[in-house]
C-alpha cells in the first residue's frame, strides 16, 4: 500500500505486505526454504518467518513458548496482560482458557450443523451465477466469490446481509491496514463495534435463533459473556469467515481458469471433487497466522526475543517438498494430503467444515453453470495483501 519500504532482502528484511509477496509468495518461500528456512525482519518490531513444514508445525504445537494473543502482525501487539484470553477469543486465546472459549463455537460449526446450511448456500450460489448470464467477461472474485461467505456468516450470526459491504470494509481494514499508525488502526475498528453493540443489545432484549443469541447465552469460566466479549467473538467470525473463504474460492477458480486440463477433468469427473478440494486447499491455502514469542529464547539457533512476531505461513508449509511429493504441482486426485490449510494443533480453524462446504458448493455451482472459462486478462488479476491471500480482481471470459 506504499506505506513501507520496498524489500530487497527477503531473508533479513522481509515484509509480508509487500506487493512482490502479494503477487507470488511461493517463489520467495521456495528460495528461503532452501537457503534460509527461518527468515527474520526488523519490521513490525521484529518478525520471524519459518518456511518449512516441520518448523511451522513445531511452533503451532508449542503453546508454552508462543502466544496467540495477537495473530495479525502489525505494529500493535496485544499486551501480555491480555493473555490467555487475547483480543478475539478463541483464536487469540492460550491454554487453558482457550479450550472453553472454543467449545462454545464448535457445535455451531460441526459437520452436522454445517450440512444444514448447504441447501441455502447452493441456492445462493445458483442465484449469483444466474445474475452473470449473458455477460462475456465477469469478475469471479468481485461478482461471485466475495458474496458467498459474507452472506452465509451474516445469516448464521443474525446480522442483515445488506450490511455486507461494511463487514468487508472492516475485515479489509483489520487484515490489510496493518501498516497504519496505531490511532488509525484503532479508529478503523470503532464503527463496526458501535454497529455490533446495537445488534447485540437488540438480541439481548429479544433472543433469536442465531449465533449472537447463542453467544449471549454462553458461559465461559462459569459466567456469561458480556456485550464486549460477544462483539469481539463476532468480529473474529467476520474476519475469519469472509476473506479466507472468498480467497479459497477465488484462488481455486483462478487455478481452473489457467489450467484447462484440471477444469475439464473436474467437469467430467465430479466424483473427484472431495480430493480436488483438499488439493486446492493445500496448493492455495489462503491463511498465514501469527504468534508472539513469550520470552527471550534460542529457538533452533534463532535468537528470538519476547514479543517478537512469528508468522506461520501454512501455504508455505503446504509447498514443502520434504512433506509433499511434487509439492508445487496441483494433483487433483492426490490421495495422501496432510495439508495445513486450516492450521494444526489446538487452533485448527473452527470454521473449516463451513469453509469446505462453501468451497465445494461454490465450485460445483460455478462449473455446472460455466464449464468453459478462461482468464480474460492475466495482468488484471489482483491479489490481496498480508496474511490472507486470494484474488480480489479475477476477470474471466465465460462461455455458457
Amino acid at each position: 500500500m506504499g506505506l513501507h519500504d520496498r524489500v530487497a532482502d527477503w531473508a533479513k528484511d522481509f515484509d509480508h505486505t509487500d506487493e512482490v509477496w502479494a503477487a507470488d509468495p511461493y517463489a520467495i518461500w521456495d528460495e528461503l526454504r532452501s537457503t534460509c528456512p527461518v527468515a527474520h525482519s526488523e519490521r513490525y518490531g521484529g518478525v520471524w518467518l519459518p518456511t518449512r513444514h516441520e518448523d511451522v508445525v513445531a511452533i503451532a504445537y508449542d503453546t508454552e513458548r508462543f502466544s496467540s494473543r495477537s495473530v495479525v502482525v502489525s505494529k500493535f501487539r496485544a499486551p501480555i496482560e491480555l493473555a490467555p484470553v487475547g483480543t478475539a477469543p478463541p483464536i487469540s486465546s492460550d491454554p487453558p482458557f482457550h479450550k472453553q472459549a472454543r467449545k462454545v463455537l464448535l457445535p455451531v460449526f460441526s459437520p452436522r450443523a454445517i450440512a444444514a446450511l448447504e441447501p441455502s448456500t447452493r441456492a445462493y450460489c445458483e442465484e449469483l451465477v444466474e445474475q452473470l448470464r449473458g455477460r462475456d467477461v465477469v469478475d469471479a472474485a468481485a461478482d461471485y466469490a466475495q458474496h458467498i461467505p459474507v452472506r452465509v456468516i451474516a445469516n448464521m450470526l443474525g446480522l442483515p446481509e445488506s450490511d455486507a459491504d461494511m463487514f468487508r470494509r472492516f475485515v479489509h481494514h483489520v487484515l490489510e491496514g496493518v501498516s497504519l499508525p496505531i490511532e488509525e488502526r484503532v479508529a478503523g475498528m470503532v464503527p463496526l463495534f458501535d454497529y455490533l453493540q446495537g445488534h447485540i443489545t437488540a438480541h439481548a432484549d429479544a433472543p433469536q435463533n442465531d449465533l449472537i443469541s447463542l453467544l449471549l447465552d454462553s458461559e465461559v469460566d462459569g459466567r456469561k459473556l458480556d456485550v464486549f466479549e460477544v462483539a469481539r467473538t463476532i468480529a473474529l467470525l467476520l474476519i475469519a469467515g469472509i476473506d479466507t473463504t472468498w480467497s479459497a474460492i477465488g484462488a481455486s477458480i483462478w487455478h481452473l481458469a489457467r489450467t484447462p486440463a484440471d477444469r475439464d477433468r473436474l467437469v467430467a469427473e465430479p466424483e473427484l471433487m472431495p480430493k480436488a478440494i483438499e488439493e486446492l486447499l493445500r496448493a492455495y491455502a489462503p491463511v498465514t497466522m501469527a504468534r508472539l514469542v513469550k520470552e527471550d529464547m534460542d529457538w533452533n539457533g534463532c535468537p528470538m526475543k519476547a514479543d517478537d512476531w512469528v508468522l506461520l505461513p501454512f501455504p508455505s508449509a503446504n509447498r514443502d517438498p520434504a512433506a509433499f511429493a511434487d509439492a508445487d504441482d496441483v494433483v487433483l486426485d492426490r490421495e495422501v494430503n496432510r495439508h495445513l490449510a486450516f492450521g494444526v494443533g489446538i487452533h485448527r480453524c473452527v470454521g473449516s467444515h463451513l469453509a469446505r462446504m462453501e468451497l465445494t458448493v461454490a465450485l460445483q455451482t460455478w462449473l455446472a453453470a460455466y464449464p468453459d472459462f478462461e482468464l480474460a486478462d492475466a495482468d488484471a488479476v489482483r491479489w490481496s495483501e498480508g496474511q490472507v491471500r486470494g484474488p480480489r480482481a479475477l476477470p474471466l471470459r465465460i462461455r455458457a
Binding site: 467449545k103 472431495p274 495422501v336 494430503n337 495439508h339 494443533g345 473449516s352
Partner: protein
Amino acid sequence: MMKVHVDQDRCQGHGRCYLAAPELFAADDLGNGREIGAGPVPAGLEHQAQLAVANCPEGAVAMEETS
C-alpha cells in the same frame, strides 16, 4: 482383524478421517472424529482406513492388527 482408533487427546476435529472413510469414522457433536463402534475394518475398506491414517494432520488416527 484390523481396527482403527482416533486418539481423542490428539484429535482437533479436522474431519479428514470421516471424509476419507465415512464407513469407519463419524463426527461427534464438536466435530471430532470417532471410530464407529469398536473400529473394525471390514474387508475391502483397508485402503480407506489407510487414507484416514495418512491424511490426519495431527497424526491422531491409528490402525492396528488385533486378534
